[in-house]
Symmetry: C2
């Protein structure tokens, strides 16, 4: 893993937006949000977080390494199951406070709940939110088939 | 705007992941991250945040309403410029702490810097990070054409 580079400074907001110095913003908790997208289908697979070490490892390794907030540790996704995410491209946004990964997801899916994508339920829109509520609670609609049985993997 | 529905409780983690009660997680700051994707091209346009009021307004109105952290106020995107985001679909993820919007972006683009997407710069991967560094600082590569002159809009 190469540490022979640094990140740019963030004092000059205009430079962060229009320049080419990579100056990612890690929040007060040391983390930056990451959107992970299937490079082939364009499906958004998941949103997770990286600290600086996870970001450096991801770039060096070419596989997604996140920071698990619940386990408070680096999380090389798929290290146990083999269902790694091969990083084919990465971008940052205008104010460099988000990372976008384009990946090839190895295996049946990215979601521990058994789906190809973590976004497997639709939120109703407009009048449908109230009209479809149950006991007053807004209801989601499943919109993806289960891709695998999580008990087989985790 | 309808307020005649409530959100579900989050005490039962399993129910949040496998049930259909819509139980979005607003963080300690009252906000939930939102990934906004172009419904036609699949391009990830931006990441922003909503508080509960912004989420309710978005669902009711069918246009993206965010919460501006810098201006500390609701932000009906495009209200001034006309470049609104028509919401064609919305999803949440397994633990319901992210919203995914699929939108039709009205106008030339979503980014105040003049691009169709906020993700207009590539991050180098592997050995290229160090190899392309300038004065030791990792460098981004522009990868999108300017879609408009922001001075004309903002």
């Amino acid at each position: 893993m190469s540490d022979t580079y640094t990140f740019g400074g963030r004092a000059d907001r205009k430079a962060v937006e229009t320049g080419n110095d990579f100056a990612p913003k890690f929040g007060a908790d040391g983390l930056i949000p990451v959107v992970t997208q299937d490079a082939a289908s364009g499906a958004v697979l998941m949103v997770a977080y990286m600290n600086e070490r996870a970001l450096r490892e991801t770039l060096a390794r070419g596989e997604a390494v996140y920071y698990s907030r619940s386990r408070d540790t680096l999380w090389h996704k798929g290290a146990t199951s083999g269902h790694v995410q091969k990083v084919l491209g990465a971008r940052t946004d205008c104010d460099q406070d988000v990372i976008l990964l384009k990946v090839e997801q190895v295996g049946p899916g990215c979601c521990h709940a058994g789906y190809a994508t973590c976004f497997y339920r639709e939120i109703p829109l407009g009048d449908a939110v109230a009209a479809t509520a149950r006991d007053g609670v807004a209801q989601l609609t499943p919109c993806e088939e289960r891709a695998y049985d999580p008990d087989d993997v985790y």
